[in-house]
């Protein structure tokens, strides 16, 4: 084998290795991710290796599971007119939504507590305060009212306020889920207005967290 071929093979191997390695690390981070970057010395692309990162992954995973269960609940509600009330299905879906939301809330509360003991990463906060929010929103076609809520915290570097808002969003959803549970436990389909407001609370809370990940991702990578 001559030198040229050897060099080419080596290069191919290095490129393949980097591609495979990066693919593993670039697994999607969908919701609230890279929040750990606000606290110094705790910002790695592989969030699973950091304490804050683990809490975020857990919180996000449970949140998404809760929303999945709530969508199943909506399916049961929608089909109740034709199939009647399948009490077990209704209950399972709603109980699942509540259980996962409680776990998500607990994981994020752990994150908040842990985060308070670690100093903020001032460099990251400075970048957040200088970030071109309007340009980013327009470029990516993000929903303005939800993005503006997020911007109000990040553009001021108000991380404690942001964390409190995430927990408040979850509390609001939980409170509505408990209201729904009262009707479901009685074998009744809850008031449609309450179902709509819960649905909106889920979707808005989810996009709030997603946009946060999007902004952080843009700054970091």
């Amino acid at each position: 084998m001559n030198k040229k071929v050897k060099t080419l093979m080596l290069r191919c191997f290095v490129v393949l290795f980097i591609t495979c390695f990066c693919t593993q690390l670039s697994l999607a981070r969908i919701w609230q991710n890279w929040r750990d970057c606000i606290n110094s010395n705790d910002c790695t692309e592989d969030s699973s290796t950091s304490l804050l990162g683990t809490y975020i992954l857990e919180s996000a995973g449970y949140f998404l599971k809760s929303n999945a269960a709530y969508q199943e609940f909506l399916y049961c509600v929608e089909m109740s007119e034709s199939k009647g009330i399948e009490s077990a299905d209704f209950k399972n879906a709603l109980y699942n939504a509540i259980d996962n939301m409680k776990k998500s809330n607990a994981a994020y509360s752990n994150l908040k507590t842990a985060s308070e003991k670690i100093p903020y990463n001032q460099e990251m906060i400075d970048q957040l305060m200088k970030f071109d929010y309007d340009g980013f929103r327009i470029k990516n076609g993000l929903n303005e009212p939800i993005f503006e809520k997020l911007r109000a915290f990040l553009s001021k570097g108000d991380i404690a306020g942001f964390d409190a808002a995430v927990i408040a969003n979850m509390d609001a959803i939980l409170s509505r889920l408990y209201e729904l549970k009262v009707s479901v436990d009685k074998g009744m389909v809850p008031e449609i207005a309450l179902i709509w407001r819960t649905s909106q609370a889920y979707t808005e809370a989810q996009l709030f967290g997603q946009y946060m990940s999007e902004v952080f991702s843009d700054i970091l990578f």
């Binding site: 670039s26 998404l64 599971k65 034709s82 997603q210």
Partner: protein
């Protein structure tokens, strides 16, 4: 018993009777529902609908099925995201990811097909002019503020309803589903190759679901307010 008490009892019984008759049919309908009210006199507290037994396809049955499949698809997609999110902790099971994503696609395709049926049936039924007139005079701004509805999405629904543009409304519902489907197909191509789609693709799909769901929900909310 004097006449007044008798009259009182009769009134109470009648109210209870009407309540009992109507309540099983006032079950919550979450998305795009009461769309049938825009065509003909098909939107009342009737006792006719059982879509599992009926052989006559109705606007309402297609709407319910379309909404149901749509929720199923969104549920699948949330489950997909959850698996992706937890992949750092639990590892990636591509077989499972594929099954969930295929299910999301299958349900969205069914939701779309059912809404195409809505369009077909609606095209053969005269519009309910009274309802359309109400929608053209409706206080949209007040309604949006009262319920804290998301402005950009609400404005899209309003722009169609305020002009009585029902075909435009139906087209928008289908366009929303098409947008979701198109992105799901992109994700599927990657998952088929045992690759997790880039997070930016997943974010945009999620936003498309969000927009499609709230669009349908706001339509239901406005129609219900006008009944």
């Amino acid at each position: 018993m004097n006449k007044q008490i008798k009259k009182y009892f009769v009134t109470v019984i009648m109210v209870l009777f009407i309540f009992c008759i109507c309540s099983p049919f006032s079950y919550a309908l979450v998305a795009a529902n009461w769309r049938e009210c825009l065509n003909g006199p098909g939107c009342t507290c009737t006792l006719t609908l059982d879509i599992t037994k009926s052989t006559i396809p109705t606007l309402k049955s297609h709407i319910i099925l379309s909404a149901g499949y749509s929720f199923d698809s969104y549920a699948n997609y949330q489950a997909f995201l959850s698996r992706v999110e937890m992949a750092d902790i639990n590892g990636v099971d591509y077989k499972e990811l594929r099954a969930i994503l295929y299910s999301a696609i299958d349900h969205m395709e069914k939701a779309r097909a059912e809404y195409e049926n809505v369009k077909l049936v609606a095209a053969k039924t005269a519009y309910n002019q009274e309802m359309i007139d109400k929608l053209m005079k409706f206080d949209y701004e007040g309604f949006r503020i009262q319920y804290g509805l998301n402005e950009p999405i609400f404005e899209r629904v309003k722009s169609l309803l305020v002009n009585g543009d029902i075909p435009g409304l139906d087209d928008s519902v289908i366009a929303n589903m098409d947008a979701v489907l198109k992105q799901l197909y992109t994700a599927r191509a990657l998952v088929d190759k045992d690759s997790v789609p880039d997070v930016s693709i997943l974010w945009r799909i999620n936003q498309s679901y969000f927009e499609a769901q709230l669009f349908g929900q706001y339509l239901s909310e406005i129609l219900k307010a006008n009944l």
